[in-house]
């Protein structure tokens, strides 16, 4: 019995010693990390001004077409510094990244060259292999900012990432980095959000019109958000030549929102060719929103042969449809065959709007 008690105490003691040793190890690791962080911070503080000055001189030298030798000496100097203190690598990358957004012309070209000569893209690419999603996102943003088209294949892997923020960053980066068609759209598992569509539009605005995707390619995409995006971009960039394809889409689509967007797009593109189809849609569709869109189209197109149809809609039950019909009639400068109190009120409403 006493033998057993001794054994138990031995186990407890051993356990206590182990816990104490683990605690000591933990404290040692924390202190080591803390010192290491402090050391990194000190190095950064100490060399920040040097790096800033070196980069500034490289840029000014390059603008003045100084010798290649002096450029490479300067790059070598930076490389040695970074090799000695790897903690400075990210600072150099961030600095070049920031200046890339500040400058245009020759200076920007020099920055891109410096970025390549220092192999800074490797830092960003390495981030894509990190397990943390926000580090991956930072890496993608860095590559996007420095126009690293070569990284397209690597970024592609993230377009359907579970984390929405990471997905978004990857899609936006590819919008900027891919040339011509947005091939990543063909591989989407998740819909494009409204925000993504807006941000993609912003990036596409920087492209030359000849370098824009062929948006009609996506009119029959399985993702409705991609179809919507393509319709909106067709209008935003004024692709009048895609009107026939939009008409085909309007004929074929069963989706109410797609139809609505297509009619609105045809209105903005002043697609006269779509009049028969829109008239037919107006007569067959029940949806108020679609009816209103069709009436707006007919009013804007200036097609007088639709007058009878517009007048018919002036007596519909839905007030908004009636207003849309009267609005279309006003645009067509129609003479009203019968003015009832209702139409008179609507006309007064529009008159007041015009006056105000």
């Amino acid at each position: 019995m006493s033998g057993q008690a001794v054994q138990v105490w031995e186990i407890i003691l051993l356990f206590a010693v182990l816990v104490f040793a683990l605690a000591l190890l933990l404290v040692f690791i924390i202190l080591r990390k803390s010192f290491s962080r402090q050391e990194s911070a000190d190095i950064l503080t100490g060399y920040r001004a040097t790096i800033d000055k070196k980069i500034a001189i490289i840029l000014v030298d390059a603008m003045e077409n100084s010798s290649e030798g002096s450029y490479y000496n300067a790059v070598k100097g930076l490389t040695l510094l970074v090799q000695k203190y790897p903690v400075l690598e990210q600072y150099v990358l961030d600095t070049i990244n920031r200046q890339y957004g500040n400058l245009v012309g020759d200076s920007k070209t020099v920055l891109k060259r410096l970025y390549a000569d220092l192999s800074l893209h490797q830092i960003s690419l390495k981030k894509l292999e990190n397990r943390s999603w926000h580090v991956q996102a930072v890496g993608i943003r860095e590559l996007e900012k420095m126009d690293q088209s070569v990284s397209v294949d690597r970024i592609f892997m993230f377009i359907n990432a579970k984390k929405s923020e990471l997905r978004k960053v990857a899609r936006l980066a590819l919008t900027k980095l891919e040339t011509g068609n947005l091939t990543f759209l063909d591989h989407l598992d998740e819909e494009l959000s409204e925000w993504e569509q807006l941000a993609m539009h912003e990036r596409l605005k920087n492209r030359a019109k000849t370098d824009l995707p062929d948006f009609s390619k996506y009119y029959f995409h399985e993702q409705n958000s991609v179809v919507e995006f393509s319709i909106k971009m067709t209008v935003e960039f004024g692709f009048y030549e895609l009107v026939p394809q939009l008409i085909t889409l309007l004929k074929a689509s069963k989706n109410h929102r797609i139809k609505l967007l297509t009619v609105q797009a045809l209105t903005r593109l002043e697609a006269y060719q779509a009049v028969p189809l829109v008239r037919s849609l107006l007569q067959s569709e029940d949806s108020a929103a679609l009816s209103i869109a069709c009436l707006n189209f007919l009013g804007n197109i200036d097609d007088l042969s639709s007058q009878w149809l517009i007048e018919m809609f002036m007596s519909k039950e839905d007030m908004e449809i009636r207003m849309a019909a009267v609005n279309a009639a006003i645009k067509l400068r129609m003479e009203f065959s019968a003015i009832n109190q209702d139409i008179e009120n609507i006309l007064l409403h529009f008159e007041n709007e015009l006056i105000s």
Partner: protein, 129 residues
């Protein structure tokens, strides 16, 4: 005797500020003083007469527009002033010119273009003399 022009560069981004300083110094051989925030800039303006001020809009302590206002309204000087800004909003541009800015350059910009605008200002200044 050659005039030595003094230019004050106010830019909190060290690399950009240094680059502007080196570029102007090399091409114009004027005295270029660089500061990194609005407070330092104001102290320099109080102590020295400058031939030109180039200032970023967004800086710690005092913005570029506040500095401009200080020079025009408090010091009552017509020192040429070039404003640099990353936002080219119409309202910002209008504010700058209403306060008396001589020129306005939006980022991203070309240092070569900035040099050209500085040259133009001094050419005009020399012409007036």
């Amino acid at each position: 005797m050659e005039d030595i022009y003094k230019i004050l560069v106010c830019e909190d981004d060290d690399v950009l500020g240094s680059m502007i300083q080196f570029k102007l110094k090399r091409d114009l051989n004027y005295e270029i003083i660089k500061v990194g925030n609005g407070r330092e800039a104001k102290n320099k303006l109080q102590a020295t007469d400058f031939s030109l001020v180039i200032s970023d809009i967004h800086m710690p302590y005092l913005s570029g527009l506040e500095l401009l206002e200080y020079v025009r309204r408090d010091q009552k000087k017509d020192t040429p002033f070039i404003i640099l800004s990353s936002e080219g909003l119409e309202a910002t541009v209008m504010d700058a010119f209403n306060l008396g800015a001589t020129d306005f350059l939006t980022k991203p910009f070309s240092p070569g273009e900035l040099l050209m605008r500085v040259r133009r200002i001094f050419h005009v200044s020399v012409g007036k003399q």
